[in-house]
């Protein structure tokens, strides 16, 4: 890949990068509230975002640089199986329409910043809350690392860094700079920085996709030619195909469903949701968020185009950046790379904030310093967000990329195991807190062991995320199997614990809390009037 630096592309890339850096630092002044030192301010942007800001924030958050690189890469390598990302994102929206408004309401009523806050309040159980928090942090860290992998892929194709010939410092310098910038403005501006930068990121992404999906097929002779070339390649390779094989259908469906259930368990998606101004903002968003699904679907098709365009890469991650470099004029390739690069910064910032919030609220405050003031909370959060990112950086620089990918895969399986506590808790208090903890433990254990046992042609362990479902005999997503097991254990244990009259925790919420909206008595708005009306 590394045949010299592409000067024009690099210039455009650096230009956009500098622009968003300035924005990131200025963001601190955007709709500043009176009390800057509360965690609500730094970690949730003052809970003040309207429909459009939330839309950009959620889109910027969920559709990450890694998604942009990995989904087409999966199509490039395996064909149809990689397309499950589309049904997956379709299923996400009816789900969030159903449960997120309830989470928003109860969180605003009680000042919850994280999902673990809610679980603790609902079930009166610090251990269950700790389990949810630890799962969230563990699942988020490799995700941040993968964002850095995404930036690396772009830098690599542009000819800076990444290569094997240069010494490690020069090789990693661009990544270190990108990282330093990210860390600095997240620290100073909190959630406002990614919210503002998300505008730039998504605008660039939409432009690039729109151009790519029209321009590249024209140059390649139309979709007929593209799919024919792809089909030939899969046949020749003896792997993959234009539609999933009979045996792959269960895998396809369980992956789509499992991933959809997992997505809004991630701390960063919840952070973006809670920053919304009202309950309606969430519901309205589920009706406009699918635009991103459409974009993702079109993006996935680029994987086929990379095949038709004769892109040959050993590392599938480079397929799409390489396709852009081959097909686009230099300056536009630079725009495309900037889109991916900035696409990594937004989610990385939100993820580190979300992980930091979890640590501060549910580990630091609950177990280390219960008397922490809001100012201390914010300070700890800022520091932890920095630590989390340094951890991710060390991860990427010292370990093989496949390790990050393996962990991310495990993270998806793990985070799904918090679903019964969170969503179960939103609708019913029937589950016993210890039963949920038991179900969680079983799900985590099964998921980890099962994933460890999956071999692939290149790896002995963690070779994939699907395995035979016990009792059904079809191949399915491990996360979903673990989830079913988790729920089953939770139900059985609840019956058992109730029979033995095990003590319930204290529920600090009441049914009406779950439907409260902004303006209702007791709902924290915290907005000084001057900032509230500046929203979109």
């Amino acid at each position: 890949m590394n045949d010299g630096v592409n000067g024009v592309a690099l210039g455009v890339f650096v230009f956009f990068f500098l622009a968003v850096t300035v924005m990131g630092f200025l963001a601190a002044r955007w709709r500043r509230a009176a009390d800057e030192h509360s965690l609500d301010e730094w970690g949730l942007g003052g809970r003040s975002f309207g429909t459009w800001v939330t839309w950009f924030l959620l889109g910027g958050d969920l559709y990450t640089a890694y998604t942009f690189v990995a989904v087409p890469a999966a199509i490039y390598a395996a064909g149809a199986a990689g397309f499950f990302a589309v049904p997956y994102t379709i299923l996400v929206y009816p789900l969030i329409f159903t449960f997120l408004p309830r989470l928003w309401s109860v969180s605003h009523k009680h000042g919850y910043v994280t999902t673990s806050d809610f679980v603790r309040g609902r079930f009166g159980s610090k251990s269950l809350s700790l389990a949810v928090a630890v799962t969230g942090i563990l699942a988020t860290m490799p995700y941040i690392a993968l964002q850095l992998v995404g930036i690396q892929a772009v830098l690599d194709v542009m000819g800076v860094g990444g290569g094997d010939s240069t010494n490690w410092f020069v090789k990693d310098l661009p990544l270190l700079i990108a990282f330093g910038v990210l860390a600095a403005y997240t620290y100073s501006s909190g959630l406002r920085a990614p919210a503002l930068i998300a505008f730039v990121k998504d605008t660039l992404i939409y432009i690039v996709i729109a151009v790519a999906i029209i321009y590249i097929p024209i140059k390649l002779g139309g979709f007929d030619e593209i799919f024919k070339a792809a089909s030939d390649k899969y046949t020749a390779a003896g792997a993959g195909g234009l539609v999933p094989a009979q045996a792959g259908q269960w895998t396809y469906a369980t992956l789509a469903l499992g991933s959809a259930l997992a997505l809004f368990m991630y701390p960063h998606s919840v952070t973006a949701t809670l920053s919304g101004r009202s309950r309606e903002v969430i519901r309205r968003n589920t009706t406009i968020l699918p635009l991103y699904s459409l974009m993702l679907g079109l993006l996935a098709l680029l994987g086929f185009m990379a095949i038709a365009a004769g892109v040959k890469v050993t590392n599938g991650q480079l397929a799409i950046p390489q396709l852009f470099e081959n097909m686009f004029p230099d300056w536009f390739a630079g725009v495309a790379f900037a889109a991916i690069g900035i696409g990594a910064l937004v989610p990385a910032a939100i993820m580190s904030i979300a992980a930091a919030n979890l640590f501060t609220r549910n580990i630091y405050k609950d177990f280390i310093n219960p008397a922490a003031t809001p100012r201390q909370e914010t300070q700890v959060s800022k520091l932890v967000s920095l630590l989390v990112k340094v951890g991710a950086l060390v991860f990427v620089l010292t370990m093989d990329k496949t390790v990050a990918i393996n962990f991310q895969l495990l993270g998806g399986i793990w985070i799904l195991q918090t679903f019964p506590s969170l969503v179960g808790g939103l609708f019913t208090r029937w589950f016993h807190r210890w039963a949920l903890l038991g179900g969680w433990a079983v799900g985590m254990l099964y998921g980890t062991i099962a994933a460890y046992g999956v071999a692939s042609p290149t790896q002995k362990h963690f070779g994939g995320s699907s395995k035979e479902i016990p009792g059904i005999g079809e191949i399915g997503y491990i996360g979903l199997t673990a989830f079913v097991l988790n729920v089953a254990v939770a139900v059985v244990l609840t019956f058992a614990l109730r029979a033995f009259k095990a003590p319930d925790g204290i529920d600090e919420t009441s049914p009406l809390d779950y439907t409260a909206d902004a303006g209702d008595p007791g709902v924290e708005t915290e907005l000084p009037p001057a900032t509230a009306d500046a929203s979109h």
Binding site: F227, Q246, T286
Partner: protein, 93 residues
């Protein structure tokens, strides 16, 4: 606020069933993979498998918007019916 205002509307109503169906339909369509694993008919060269799923993006959006509008109307009607309480039982569709 208290236990039961005497005219509390039922939790399950025809409108709410429609809302639930709107939200549930994409799951049936997308998880029934066997119904769309084929290449023909193609659309401008894109195999059926792909354009069908992409088509479901706007379809599910329309369904969600419908659910949203019905839900809002339902909520407003209920708010009028019991002016004092925000008596949503929280069936949550």
């Amino acid at each position: 606020m208290s236990d039961l205002p005497e005219v509390k509307p039922p939790v399950v109503t025809p409108v709410r069933v429609v809302i639930a169906l709107c939200l549930f339909a994409p799951f049936v369509a997308m998880l029934w993979v066997g119904s769309y694993t084929k290449t023909d008919p193609a659309f401008i060269g894109i195999p059926f498998f792909y354009w069908y799923q992409l088509l479901w993006v706007p379809l599910s959006t329309v369904l969600t918007v419908t659910a949203y509008q019905l839900w809002r109307r339902d909520q407003r009607a209920r708010a009028r019916a019991s002016a004092s309480t925000s008596a949503e039982g929280g069936a949550g569709a």
